[in-house]
Amino acid sequence: MGWENWIISTFSRSLAYGTPLLLGTLGEIYSERSGVLNLGVEGMMIMGAYSAFTTTYMTKNPWFGILVAGIIGGIFSLIHAFTSITLKANQTVSGLSLTMLGLGLSGVLGKGWEGKPLPSTIPKMIITPLNSLPVLGPIFFQGQNLIVYFTLILVPILWYILFRTRIGITIRAVGESPATADSQGINVARVRYVCVFIGGILAGTAGGYLSVAYRPAWTEGMTAGMGWIVIALTIFSFWNPINGMLGAFLFAALYHLSFRLQSYISPELLKAMPYAMAIIVLIFVSRGNLQKRVGAPAALSLPYMRGED
């Protein structure tokens, strides 16, 4: 394999592997920007993966599967929204229980589905005139699927909404200073519910992508900690969708490069690589003199109750 092919395959695979990470990160950025830490990403993703797989199996329509995955992820996130926003519970513990519940439910419900073949999956696309571009063509326009493009388009849109529209101002105000937002007549709880819900939809979609597009199959616990890597990437992104995109694909690229070490390191240790990398990424972020928490929403993980200032 020439080095050009090597670059192409690494980038193209990073795009495919980075997409679910990016989807989850975009959702978590919105949730955390509104002040709600949702550690249930892993649970929402696995529920999305499970429901996308079963829906696709039954309806033979993978797009319907993806849609259901998003909806299930969203509904699932509302449990966390209810306990952490309405009942003002500890967000760390609530998110954790969402992950447990998701892993548990999908494990129990999905028992009979393991190893079944999918009748149809999200097709890989070849975009004809563009795929003949040198280097970029095979990376971006050959063998990727519509969800990848959808996610890439989502990045600037979500960035624009967050930083250039009134909706974004409202979300950031709620996450920085809910008392201020409240005093301006903004319904803090409603904004937070919506943001958590968006986070849930995107995490569910990410899970669906895994089970009907990335490697079309269902296995128990198939998200394998991706949800936690999403949380790390959210911190890495400084709560900015553009940085989130860079982080997700950088992470995915490093992940694929680590497989180049296959001939030196045993496969079991290689599997531990992404988790070690997630920690290293966080160390890297905090080392860059950035631990002053410039980007972290000031009210992150703090429940809001009127009159407590």
Binding site: S97, L103, L105, S266, Y275, I279, S286
Partner: protein, 361 residues
């Protein structure tokens, strides 16, 4: 103007909460969770009554079942007691699972390769397991205090790393020549096996260690200087700084103990039950995660962990029963865990606030 009729509630913070109210609320939360899971059973096509009858009769109804509860409670007790301490200091250690595995790895290493005299072998394994778990635990403690890295992510990532470390050992360097293609280590020598109560799998030395330690940790929290420092730091980190308490020292102490105790749980499982290193999901079926809820349900009181660990051991044992007789997957315990934890933290709202109905207007 017609005024809209609207239900109105008043939410006020309570100034104090009685112990009996805490107990009652916890019991109601668990009942509510069990009902929700029961509805889930029903949807799954199994009668909820039948499922619960099997869970309770299968665990509480026989000598074997009771013994299984106790042996399941041992790792939950050790991990849970450590977590009460960590949670008191507001350190969210979600890594007991990984710390337990590293404890098991350390014990295996000593059992198989140390060449110690037989009477020293088990004590050395316990010591080694404690140190292993403690080392795995203090890494995220350093990362949090010095670099400000979220400990939930760090401890979780280290769980996955521990899992693959065990996988690597049993597939690679420690794969036993006598394991015939299976991914096991060699079995331990007899002097590295813990004694059990006859006819059961209760490795009683670990049980006694667990009970003694829960009392010791209680004394540590309530009656010592370090315990006061832990409580001050957990309840108000700013006040702790102001009082000159060193956050690194307290966090390291707490994670040294918390990780070490999880490591002991790993030693118990490996030396008391399996007597060889095997797949990580066989060593621990999520004891470290369940222990989070064990500690939370105990309201971070190490003595109460003795009871809450028994309760979750009952659910695990009952889960085994319906796994065999109704074909439920082992993931069922996570459904219980998630549901109970949700209702527990949700119920805290009703402990913290008094909600009164003040009519319509």
């Amino acid at each position: 103007m017609i005024s809209a009729k609207k239900w109105r509630f008043k939410i006020e913070e309570r100034s104090s909460v009685s112990n009996s109210r805490v107990l009652l609320t916890s019991i109601l939360a668990i009942l509510a969770a069990l009902i929700i899971v029961g509805i889930f059973f029903q949807f799954y096509g199994v009668s909820a009554f039948k499922a619960y009858r099997l869970i309770f009769s299968g665990s509480l109804g026989s000598r074997f079942g009771l013994a299984e509860i106790v042996r399941r409670a041992i790792p939950l007790l050790l991990c849970g007691v450590g977590l009460t301490l960590a949670f008191r200091a507001l350190f969210w250690n979600i890594g007991a699972e990984g710390q337990l595995l590293i404890g098991a790895v350390a014990a295996t290493g000593i059992a198989l390769f140390s060449k110690l005299p037989p009477f020293l072998l088990l004590p050395a394994m316990f010591l080694g397991g404690f140190i292993g778990g403690a080392l795995w635990g203090i890494v995220p403690a350093f990362l949090k205090v010095i670099l400000g890295i979220n400990e939930v992510i760090a401890t979780l990532m280290m769980n996955y790393m521990a899992i693959y470390l065990v996988e690597w050992l049993i597939h690679g360097p420690w794969k036993g020549p006598s394991a015939r293609g299976f991914a096991y280590s060699d079995p331990f020598p007899p002097s590295a096996m813990l004694p059990t109560i006859t006819g059961t799998r209760i490795h009683w030395p670990t049980l006694i260690i667990g009970l003694v330690i829960s009392v010791l940790i209680y004394i540590l929290i309530v009656h010592t200087k370090s315990g006061l420092e832990v409580r001050v730091m957990g309840e108000n980190p700013e006040a702790a700084r102001y009082a000159g308490i060193n956050p690194l020292k307290v966090t390291l102490l707490v994670m040294l103990i918390s990780g070490g105790l999880a490591g002991l749980a790993g030693v118990g499982e490996i030396a008391g039950i399996h007597q060889r290193l095997l797949g990580p999901t066989h060593i621990s079926m999520g004891y470290g995660y369940t222990a989070v809820i064990v500690a939370w349900l105990a309201r971070r009181n190490p003595l109460a962990v003795i009871f809450t660990s028994l309760f979750f051991a009952l659910l695990i044992t009952g889960g085994d029963v319906i796994k065999v007789s109704l074909g439920f997957p082992s993931q069922m315990i996570n459904v219980f865990n998630g549901a109970i934890l949700f209702f527990l933290i949700g119920s805290e709202f009703f402990l913290r606030y008094r909600i009164s109905f003040i009519g319509r207007r």
